[in-house]
C-alpha cells in the first residue's frame, strides 16, 4: 500500500499531509532484530530493524496476497510472510518465493519502503505519495542538533486528530487557563493581544505585550518536517539555566488518533545541566506529564465537529493561519476530481 495522490483533499487533511517527513514512534520502540507494526497517515506500516541497528519502514502488506508482513517472521535482513512464506528485503524487494522458486516476483521491488531517519530518539519517515517518492529535503530543529542544548523526549498517544494536537500548540493562550494550576504556567496575564510574524520557514504567533512569563509565543516551522518551537519559564526550584523550551511534532496516526512528540530542552551545561537532568528524572518529568495530561483530556473530549461550529476571536489567528496553510496543502496534494 502506498499513499495515493488520488486521495481527496478531505482525506489528506484528515489523515496527514503527504510529501513531507513525519515522526512515527520513538526509536526504542523497535529494538535491534525486532519488528513493530505502526499506523501512520491512516495506513499500516512495518518498522523493521536489523540486528546491526539499521532500520527500515515497509508497507505492512505482503506483495503476494496482501497479508500483513507484521505477522511474519524476522529473518535478520528480511521478513518472511507467515501466509505462504514470501520473503521481502528491507528495501521492499522480494528475495524469494519459497513455494515456487524462480517465480517472476523474485527480484522485483513490490513493497513500498519509506525513507527513514532517526533524530534525537525518534523515528522520522518521509511519506511521499506515488508521484513524489523521493524524500523532501529535511532541516532538523536546531534545539535537537545544538550540542549546547540538552533535551528529553516525551512521547504520548492521544485519541485526538493530529490537527487538534497541532492547533493546540498554535494556541498559546490556553496556557494561562488550562494550565493555570501547573508548575510552569501559573503566571501571566489572562488577557493578551497577539500578532502573526511571518518567517522564511513558517510563522510566529506571539503576544505583543508579554514575553518570558507564560507560554507567550510559538513558532511554526516547516522544514521538511513540521514542528513548533516555544519557551516557558521554569520556577526557581528548577535551578540555573533559565527557561525550558519545547520542540513539538505530531504524527498523524489516522483520522482520530495522533502520536505527540515533545522534546523538553534547556540550554545548560556542566553541573547545572547535570542537576537539571537529575531533577527532571526524579521530580520534574512527572509535573510536565501532568500538564500534558490536561491537554490530552481537553483534546480527547472535543466533539468530532468542533472545528465546524466555532466562534473565533483574535487569539485564534494562529489556528486560522495554520488551517489555511494545511487546507491549501491538502488541496494541492490531491489530484482527485482534477
Amino acid at each position: 500500500m502506498t499513499l495515493s495522490s488520488s486521495a481527496t483533499a478531505e482525506h489528506i487533511y484528515a489523515t496527514g499531509l503527504r510529501n513531507q517527513w513525519h515522526p512515527v514512534v520513538p526509536s526504542h520502540f523497535v529494538a535491534p532484530g525486532a519488528m513493530r507494526k505502526v499506523t501512520a497517515l491512516g495506513e499500516q506500516w512495518l518498522l523493521f530493524r536489523r540486528s546491526d541497528g539499521v532500520l527500515s519502514m515497509l508497507a505492512d502488506r505482503c506483495p503476494h496476497r496482501g497479508a500483513p508482513l507484521s505477522l511474519g517472521k524476522h529473518l535478520g535482513d528480511r521478513v518472511a510472510c507467515w501466509y505462504h512464506g514470501v520473503e521481502v528485503e528491507s528495501d521492499g524487494t522480494v528475495s524469494s518465493v519459497p513455494g515456487l522458486p524462480g517465480c517472476s516476483l523474485e527480484g522485483k521491488k513490490l513493497v513500498t519502503s519509506l525513507p527513514v531517519r532517526e533524530v534525537a530518539g525518534a523515528i522520522l519517515a518521509y511519506f511521499g505519495d506515488e508521484e513524489h517518492p523521493e524524500p523532501a529535503e529535511l532541516a532538523l530543529p536546531e534545539p535537537l542538533t545544538d550540542p549546547e542544548v540538552d533535551a528529553f523526549l516525551c512521547y504520548a498517544e492521544w485519541n485526538a486528530p493530529w490537527r487538534y494536537a497541532v492547533e493546540n500548540l498554535l494556541d498559546p493562550m490556553h496556557g494561562a487557563f488550562l494550565h493555570h494550576d501547573s508548575h510552569t504556567m501559573f503566571d501571566g496575564d489572562t488577557t493578551a493581544k497577539f500578532r502573526i510574524r511571518e518567517t522564511a520557514r513558517g510563522y510566529f504567533f506571539e503576544k505583543t505585550d508579554q514575553r518570558g512569563v507564560n507560554f507567550d509565543w510559538v513558532e511554526l516551522c516547516r522544514t521538511g518536517v513540521d514542528w513548533v518551537d516555544l519557551s516557558i519559564p521554569y520556577p526557581p526550584s528548577a535551578g540555573p539555566g533559565g527557561p525550558f523550551g519545547i520542540v513539538g511534532m505530531v504524527c498523524p496516526v489516522d483520522e482520530q488518533r495522533s502520536g505527540v512528540f515533545f522534546w523538553r530542552y534547556r540550554r545548560v551545561e556542566d553541573w547545572q545541566r547535570a542537576s537539571w537532568r537529575f531533577l527532571y528524572r526524579t521530580l520534574i518529568e512527572q509535573r510536565h506529564w501532568d500538564v500534558l495530561e490536561q491537554d490530552r483530556v481537553m483534546l480527547e473530549a472535543m466533539p468530532a465537529d468542533a472545528d465546524q461550529q466555532e466562534n473565533l476571536y483574535q487569539h485564534d489567528l494562529g489556528v486560522v493561519r495554520l488551517r489555511r496553510l494545511y487546507r491549501a496543502a491538502a488541496e494541492a496534494q490531491s489530484t482527485a476530481g482534477v
Binding site: R36, T282, L283, E285
Partner: protein, 74 residues
C-alpha cells in the same frame, strides 16, 4: 515494550525508580534553589545547612556535589 494503544508513560527518562536518598536530595535541592539561589557555593552551603549529606554521610564540597550531579544526571 508494549504494543497496546495508547502509550501513556509518565516516566520516560528514568533508568530506575529513584532511591529514598535521591528523592530526598532532589526535594532539598529544589528548596535550596528556591531559597538560597543558583550559585554553586550557595547550593552546597544550603544542602549542608539542611543536613542533607552525600550518600556516605559526609558534608558536600563543591567537588563532591559536582561529581554526584554528574553521576545522577548523566
Amino acid at each position: 515494550m508494549t504494543d497496546t494503544w495508547p502509550y501513556l508513560d509518565v516516566h520516560q527518562s528514568r533508568t530506575h525508580e529513584p532511591t529514598p536518598y535521591e528523592y530526598k536530595l532532589a526535594a532539598t535541592l529544589e528548596e535550596v534553589f528556591t531559597r538560597e539561589g543558583h550559585e554553586l557555593a550557595d547550593v552546597v552551603r544550603g544542602l549542608n545547612a539542611r543536613q542533607v549529606h552525600a550518600a556516605d554521610g559526609s558534608p558536600w564540597t563543591e567537588e563532591s556535589f559536582r561529581a554526584e550531579m554528574n553521576r545522577l544526571g548523566a
